[in-house]
């Protein structure tokens, strides 16, 4: 017998339309557990436009506004302004978007909201490609990955855009990465975001078994391996300068252990593994220097 390590209440209902093993659905379940019913969502075009269900249904017991692809951040800001203008100050507004809507088409609006320090939480559930439209590459797609627009004989040849660093450069109160494989850390971050005024962004690593060509039961396993191989470091930045590593990975596993369980990396050779390992090592080193320098 043990105590629950995350809140018991379920605000996301079963019956939603996410694929088997969808970490984007799991991330929503966690967020709503913390944020509760005094929450509103702005959801742009992304998997969640479908997951929430077709009209006349919804899978969440909080108000949700489906909005245009590039407008998650500003729709959330607008909702918040509308509420505050009516004297409603105790409702949290959360922008909930995929990586395409965040790293690519929605980027400008996020920068605007961050620069103004609008009082919203922006969550990106990152499955590293345009999954809802059928697995096309986004600027969140990692180096070497197959997608339907980066075929195996010409996989993505540029690194993933470093979103957290760019948002941190806006000197906003709170930016963090998190993983569905570490719900207790994620819950803590949601709580921190809930209790912080101003612009907050949480970048959640959210595997997509469908798009990653992987068995659905490996969803959590792959997210865990991303952390344990240092492919996806879990850290936070306060006010743009104070770095804190949340999950220290002292003895990292080789990146191959993460890559080999996913079909999207099946075409990679040992040499490619080497390049990816070097990239990961270099990025980790860079992050560690920031963590040590800017405590």
């Amino acid at each position: 017998m043990s105590k629950l390590t995350i809140p018991q209440e379920e605000i996301m209902s079963s019956g939603h339309l996410a694929c088997q093993g969808c970490a984007g659905a799991l991330a929503m379940r966690y967020m709503l557990k913390v944020f509760g019913k005094k929450t509103m969502l702005a959801v742009p075009a992304c998997c969640w436009s479908v997951i929430d269900g077709p009209w006349p249904y919804s899978a969440v017991s909080v108000p949700l506004f489906h909005t245009a692809f590039e407008t998650a951040a500003i729709t959330a800001s607008g909702l918040k302004a509308g509420l505050v203008a009516q004297g409603i100050n105790d409702v949290n507004v959360v922008a909930w978007a995929g990586d395409g809507g965040t790293f690519d088409i929605g980027f400008q609006a996020i920068s605007g909201a961050a620069e103004r320090n609008d009082d919203i939480l922006y969550v990106v559930y990152d499955n590293e490609a345009y999954m809802n439209t059928g697995i096309q590459r986004s600027s969140a797609t990692p180096y070497g990955a197959w997608t339907t627009t980066t075929p195996a004989n010409h996989p993505k040849d540029r690194p993933k855009k470093d979103l957290v660093e760019i948002i941190a450069a806006h000197r906003v109160p709170f930016v963090a990465t998190a993983s569905v494989a570490y719900p207790e850390d994620l819950i803590k971050k949601f709580e921190k975001a809930k209790n912080t005024k101003g612009f907050k962004l949480i970048h959640i690593f959210a595997p997509c078994p469908t798009g990653w060509k992987m068995a659905p039961e490996l969803s959590i396993e792959s997210a865990r391996l991303a952390v344990q191989t240092r492919v996806f470091p879990v850290y936070e930045v306060e006010n743009g300068v104070h770095y804190k590593l949340n999950i220290n990975v002292k003895n990292p596993k080789p990146v191959g252990e993460y890559l080999k369980i996913q079909g999207r990396f099946r075409h990679l050779k040992e040499d490619d593994y080497k390049v990816i390992q070097e990239n990961v090592d270099r990025e980790w080193e860079l992050l560690m220097r920031k963590v040590e320098t800017f405590k």
Partner: protein, 385 residues
């Protein structure tokens, strides 16, 4: 209180008197004076609103949509390229049935770069589900903002209040600024039945299948039909309270007119002088100003045009590959009417801010009077060849 103010400032006062609760805007010439004045009004506490200075017009409309969906009375203003950039969100505002009011300063579209007036910016947004009101003077601009909220909040569709760049936006005119308490009587606070509300949680705008999408569109058209009545009713009530009545169209000396000139915005206000002048010469001409373009006043147009000898339409816009847009719409409205159909002359004039002076208008009407029928579907007035 009577004040001499610019058209842009008439917009700002309209928003102030409507007690808008949120504003989100991005600067674009010649709209900037609107938002500058609103910034002052919110900064000095004259207007109790949250003003979000967004990073683009697309975000201006998205923010306005969000605030309106949350139940606030939301306002924004733009022009030309800005309106084009927010086009996607114009659909969102209308489809989500949000009673947003926006001022659009009519400015021609680039390239080449231009800041002067014509109507191609707003007319490119003809089919998005917004009501469109074309104003002829600064007083009407101010009044139309207030009326915009009054009508929009009854039919759940947004309103675009349109004024000509510089000719109105940067031109000072005497404007009666009504007492805000009186405006409060006319325009009560916004209380939507359904909104983003934690006590009644719903999703808005989810995936709609072919099974139901068409029904939502049918409802938008029904709302537009309803709006025609509401605009006239509220325009009358406004007249009773403030002494200025507004409708869908405005007639001037049409009663016994053989020839009807149709125009909109400031071209129409200039045309009045020309009508007087031609009347003095014995020409039986009258003017119809189309004030509300959406919903289109089909029945009113038919009624006023039936039995006339000639119709002359001046368009400060063009639908490339077709004709002037008001001309096309008037012609279309008239096709299924009974009785004689008078020859209809369609003139394009004043694009990109070229002056449409009384002389230009007089020449247009005289040209039509001298012909039995138009030589072509488009008659270019003043184009240099």
């Amino acid at each position: 209180m009577k004040k001499v103010i610019l058209g842009d400032h008439a917009v700002s006062y309209g928003a102030l008197l409507s007690r808008v609760q949120t504003i989100a805007a991005y600067p674009i010439t010649p709209q900037t004076l609107i938002v500058e004045r609103l910034s002052e009004m919110t900064a000095n506490g004259e207007l109790d609103a949250i003003f979000t200075k967004v990073e683009s017009e697309h975000s201006a409309m998205a923010s306005t949509v969000g605030s309106s969906a949350a139940g606030a009375r939301a306002f924004t203003a733009t022009s030309a390229q800005g309106l084009a950039l927010m086009h996607e969100m114009l659909h969102w505002a209308a489809g989500a049935r949000l009673p947003i009011v926006m001022a659009n300063v009519n400015r021609a579209m680039a390239p080449g770069w231009t800041i002067w007036t014509d109507q191609n910016d707003s007319l490119s947004a003809r089919d998005v589900g917004w009501m469109q009101v074309y104003c002829q003077n600064n007083q009407e601009v101010l009044d139309s903002i207030i009326l915009g909220y009054k009508v929009s909040e009854q039919v759940d569709l947004p309103t675009m209040v349109i004024l000509d760049a510089f000719v109105l936006s940067h031109t000072a005119e005497g404007v009666d600024i009504p007492d805000i308490k009186k405006v409060d009587e006319f325009l009560p606070p916004y209380k939507p039945e359904i909104k983003m509300d934690i006590n009644d949680p719903r999703s808005f705008g989810a995936l709609t299948s072919p099974d139901v999408y068409m029904e939502f569109r049918y409802k938008m058209q029904q709302a537009m039909d309803k709006a025609k009545k509401v605009i006239v009713e509220e325009g009358k009530k406004f007249g009773e309270m403030f002494g200025r009545e507004y409708g869908l169209i405005e007639e001037y000396k049409t009663e016994d007119a053989d020839t009807i000139l149709i125009a909109s915005a400031t071209v129409a206000s200039t045309a009045r002088a020309v009508i007087d002048e031609l009347r003095e010469k014995g020409e039986k001409v009258g003017l119809v100003r189309i004030r509300v373009f959406r919903p289109f006043p089909t029945e009113e147009i038919i009624k006023v045009l039936e039995g006339r000898k000639k119709v002359v339409v001046i368009d400060r816009n063009i639908s490339f590959g077709k004709t002037g847009i008001f001309f096309d719409e008037v012609k279309g409205a008239f096709y299924n009417s009974k009785g004689n159909k008078p020859p209809m002359f369609g003139y394009i004039a004043g694009l990109g801010g070229r002056d449409v002076t009384p002389k230009v208008i007089r020449e247009i009407v005289e040209d039509a009077l001298n012909k039995d029928k138009p030589e072509s579907e488009i008659i270019w007035k003043g184009v240099k060849l």
